[in-house]
Each structure stands twice: as C-alpha cells, then as structure tokens.
C-alpha cells in the first residue's frame, strides 16, 4: 500500500547540497587503544562502527550501482553518484582503523569475517533467484539502506554535537574521523530516502525494512561492544551491558536512550523526510574546518 499519493513527504528545500567524495586520509600510529581516555566501554561501543562500516558501506555502494538504471530524475541521479563516492571513502577510512586495532592486540577479524558474510552473502545478490524476485530483493535492500541511513544521520548529528568527547580529551584523529564521517552523513542524509521514495516508496516496505534494520543494528551493536570488551587485552573482566550504555548516554559520551527511542516514531511517521533532522549548515561548517577534509581539499586542488 503506497502513501505517496496521499501526502508525499516534503524535503526542506534549503537543506539540499551538491555532494562530492573527499579524498581523506588518517594515520593511526599515535591513537591509543582507549582513545576516549579511561573509558573503554564508550571507546569500544563507538569502535563497533569500524567493525560494521567497511563491509556495510561497501554493500551500500554495491547495491546503489545496481539501482542507477532505475533512476529517472537527473538531480537524484547526481545525488546518488555523490553519495556512492562518499560511502566508498567512509568504508575505506574505517577499514584502515582495523589493522591498528590488531596491532594493539585486539584482532577484529573473528567479528568482521562474519559481518563480511552478512553483507556479501546473506544481503548479497544471490539471495533470491533472478527475475521478479531479484527486483523485489533490490527494492528491499534500497529500503533497508534508507532505514540504516536514518540512524547514520542520527549518529552523525549526535557526534557533531557531542562536546563531552572533546571535554574528556578524546583522540583528535579519531574524533576527526567520526565527525568528518558524521558530517557527510548529515550532508547526504536525504539521498537514501529520496531514492527509496523514487523507486518504490511503499509504506509497508518502509516499516518492514525499518524493523529488520533496527533489529539487526541492535544485535550487531551489542555483540560488537561485548566482543571488544571481552577481547580487550588490557581488561581482565571486560563486559558490556545496556546499563553501561544508558550511563554513557547520560554522561554525554554516547547518544541517550531517550533520543534513540524518540527517533523511531519519527522515521515511521508518514510525513517524515530526513531533511527535517540535523543541520546541513553545521555539517558544512565542520567540513570546512576538519583537518582531514581540508587536507583532502588541498590534495584535490593540488592534483589538478
């Protein structure tokens, strides 16, 4: 059942911006294992991003390459092309953190090999036979990406405003990686949803894929935090619990439980459009001052 005829969600026009990939580069030698000093739980809860994003964002690119022939709107096509490059760079940048973790005695491979299976096999192209089922599967994945992007934009907006991380002396390189990434997520937050509305837009699919994506994210995140805490060579009895998460949320070093819960009905509301959340101006302002993004800008200009 489609709701597109009834009341199409309206984008906030001022929030649209041309998207381009930035050729960022981060070096990790001087980043400590607990890059948020004295707080392994928060460090590792955020570190779960490095476990999920290399495979996850590679999968976004893989799916979006296939959806290009179905786009009939030139501006949306340009947005999707910019989005693909940004996601490819996010995947590469987070992937480079993993060898650094390994060198510090925390080998992520047991977990990432399973995430690889999830995105390459279970969510890959051959899950369903060719023909109609394949097309249904493509739409289903496009809708899942829109739901996941609701959360990446939520996290991007959160990290841009998470001043508590600065106050507690978080490692500047890690903070720049998170905020460069977060800012680009805010910058392109409407693309996945617009694409989904363009190729399908069914409310039932949106609700169904949200449920899948949300459940998967909760599962992956709690297992990831637990994996890091239990295998951290500097901790003797590392554990991760929901109570720790709630406490860090109240301290301002992670999103609050309340904010997480309140974001659910917003995505499921029929009038939802991602441009209603977060601030493009704030994202653009961060990118103008980010060490990695400004170096990338210099590199791009220098290369021409």
């Amino acid at each position: 059942m489609s709701n597109t005829k009834a009341r199409p969600p309206q984008p906030v026009a001022s929030e649209h911006i041309a998207l381009k990939a930035r050729n960022v580069s981060f070096s990790w030698e001087s980043t400590p294992l607990h890059w948020l000093p004295g707080d392994p739980f928060t460090t590792h809860t955020i570190n779960v991003l490095h476990l999920l994003l290399p495979a996850g964002e590679r999968w976004f690119v893989h799916v979006y390459k296939q959806v290009l022939p179905h786009i009939r709107d030139e501006r949306l096509r340009e947005d999707v092309i910019g989005f693909i490059g940004q996601e490819a760079m996010h995947s590469q940048a987070h992937d480079e953190v993993l060898p650094h973790l390994r060198e510090q005695g925390l080998d992520p491979t047991p977990y990432t090999a399973q995430v690889d299976w999830l995105f390459e096999k279970l969510l890959g192209d051959r899950t369903l036979p060719p023909g109609k089922a394949r097309h249904w599967w493509l739409l289903e994945r496009v809708a899942m990406i829109a739901a996941i992007e609701h959360y990446t934009a939520f996290l991007g907006d959160w990290v841009l405003n998470a001043e508590e991380l600065d106050r507690r002396g978080a490692d500047p390189t890690m903070l720049d990686l998170l905020r460069w990434h977060g800012a680009e997520e805010v910058e392109h937050r409407s693309v996945a949803f617009d694409l989904f509305m363009h190729v399908d837009g069914s409310y039932r699919r949106r609700a169904r894929t949200w449920a899948t994506a949300f459940t998967a994210l909760v599962f992956l995140w709690q297992r990831g935090a637990r994996f890091f805490m239990e295998n951290d060579p500097t901790l003797t009895d590392g554990k991760a619990s929901f109570r720790d998460f709630h406490r860090s949320g109240r301290a301002g070093t992670l999103p609050t439980t309340g904010d997480m819960i309140r974001s659910i009905p917003r995505y499921l509301s029929r009038g939802y459009h991602p441009s209603q959340e977060g601030s493009t101006a704030q994202a653009v302002a961060y990118l103008a001052s980010s060490p990695a993004a400004t170096a990338a800008e210099a590199r791009t200009n220098g290369a021409v």
Binding site: I84, T109, A295
Partner: protein, 365 residues
Amino acid sequence: MSSSLRTARAARAALFVVGTALLTRRALRRRIGASPLWPLPALEEPVSGQPRSRALRLRVARHEHVAEGVVQLRLESGQSGALPAWEPGAHLDLVLPSGLVRQYSLCGDPEDSSSYTVATRLIGADEGGRGGSREVHEVLREGVEVEVRGPRNRFPLLDGAASYVFVAGGIGITPLLAMVRAVEAAGGDWRLLYCGRSRASMPFLEELEKLGGAGERVLVVAEDECGLPDVRGFLGGGGAGAVYVCGPEGLMDAVAGALPAGASLHLERFAPAAAAGGESAFEVELRRSGRTVTVGADTTVLAAVRAELPDTPYSCEQGFCGTCQHRVLEGEIDHRDELLTDGERGDSMLICVSRARGTRLVLDA
C-alpha cells in the same frame, strides 16, 4: 493431593526451568565467545580489515644534499614498531603539507625497518615541474612531519634472471640503486649504465662505482663530458637477460629500440605520460555490449563509456573512490589513480583517470 506434595512439585519445576536457563546461557556464551556473531557463519576469505594502503606519519630525520639539485630524505617513525617492509623497486606516496601527492622510489636499505630513504631532484617550473619537488626541497626540513602511503612496488626486481642490465637516467637511479645492491649481495651478474647531465648532478656515483669494482660493470656517461650514451653499444655487450630502465622518456625509448633478442624489458616512468606532453586518443572496445568508443585526447575513458552506457557507475572522477573500477580484458593500461593495488592493476583500471598505454583497450563492459 496434599499441599506439601504440590509445593515439592512446583519447586522441582522451578529448578528445572532455572537449570535449563543457566545451561542455555552457558552454551550461548560459549558459542558467542568462539563466534562473536553466532549463529552467522564467517566469510571464508574475509574482506574487511585489509585496506589497500595505510597512512603513516613520519618525521624527516635527515635532509641532505647528495648531488647538485638532489636532496635525500631519511624518514623515521615516531613509534617503536617496525615500518612496513619493502623490496627493491618500491616507492612511497608522499602527501606533502600543501596536499600535493608525489611518488618517490625508496633508495635505502630494505633491511632497515626503522626508516625510509628517498631522494628527489628539484624540477624547476621551466622544466615542467609543478611544485612537488620544490616543496620537498624547501619545506621538508629536518623535524617536519609528513604523511606517507605505501610502500608499493610497480617495478619489482624478478629473481632468477641469467643477467641484469640496469639503465638509469639522472634521478632515475633511485629505484635501481636498491636493485643493484640486492643483485650484488646475491652474487648475481649485473651491469649498469648511468647517464646524467654532469657528474656533480648524479647522486650515489661513488657508491655505485665502488660496487662496480675494477671491471666494466658500471659505465657512467655524463653528458657534459662525453655527450649522449651509446645505449645500443652497451646493451649489445651482454647476453639476453632482464633489463631495468628508469629515466626520461627518450632514454627509455632508446633502450626499447636497442633491446637484444630474448631480453625482457622493465620500465619505471617518472610520471604519467601526460606530464611530458599532450594526451593521445585511443579506442576502447566494450566487449559485453559489443561497442567500440574513441577516447579523445581531451576526454576520459569514463566520459566516452558513459556516452554509450549512461548507467556506468562512477563518483569522484579523480581516481580515489574506486567506484568506476572496470575489468580490462586486453590492452596495456596507463594507471593514473592512487588507489588500486598492484594485483588489481594487472587486470582492472579506474576509468575516470587512467588511460591506454597503446592505441586500444578492451573493457568487460
């Protein structure tokens, strides 16, 4: 039924439930401990966690003039761990403070895992220099930090050749220096032709002449003393073997033209051909779609392919995001990207920036 009997039964049931729950929890914990995302399987050949390259921040520990217009830098890591290993022929990408990225061959000792050594010649604007070497000479002073990526090797020294012939032009000696040392250390048969404008402008002369010993293994030809080198005469003086050349285009063409029968030729170019002169046009066959497009001198493979296949994926158009990577079935590729690994370069290219070395490429598109 008496109440005591009922209580006992309830207690037994409760015990059973608690016991089962505890056992289940223990079993789950054990499984998750061994397999963090149990019950998902793992991909047999993991993809994540093996980035194509990694960035390192190194400090310029020594900046010295080793010949006229040539500076040698020794780059050290501030950390105690070993730097990634490299083999003769490898290069580093230096990300200069201005953002320019330049590639320099490693010319130090591969056994030294605490530092990298590179040498660069100052190329003035009148010679087509675009500021990279000037920045290395003037900005990368001792103590300055610089980001590097790599090392990567596109000019590997292959084992097992019957003999090795090295031909260097000027600063092109840098990748060959490590090769000469390696072949000499292994007791191999080698000769070197080292050409330059003047002896004063040619780095590492003393070391190379010493390595060459009393025989005629090293022939130094300084243009101001003896004019242009007799490449044909030098190559003709030995049997077939492996010939490694690094230098200006003219020298590489001369070697290619005078190559003895049976010898294998290995070239390392200073820079993409574009820097030397204009681009040239070539043809690209799109095998799967059965079409052929012409890539003009002023356009890219991507633009030409998109004109035929508008849904071709791409994004950054500058050779770093990797979206437009295409499989290449035939033809020699002139790689211009900063991304692909040497393995990937064998049979694929980024069509947004890379071009054909010859007149034709065949893409799996």
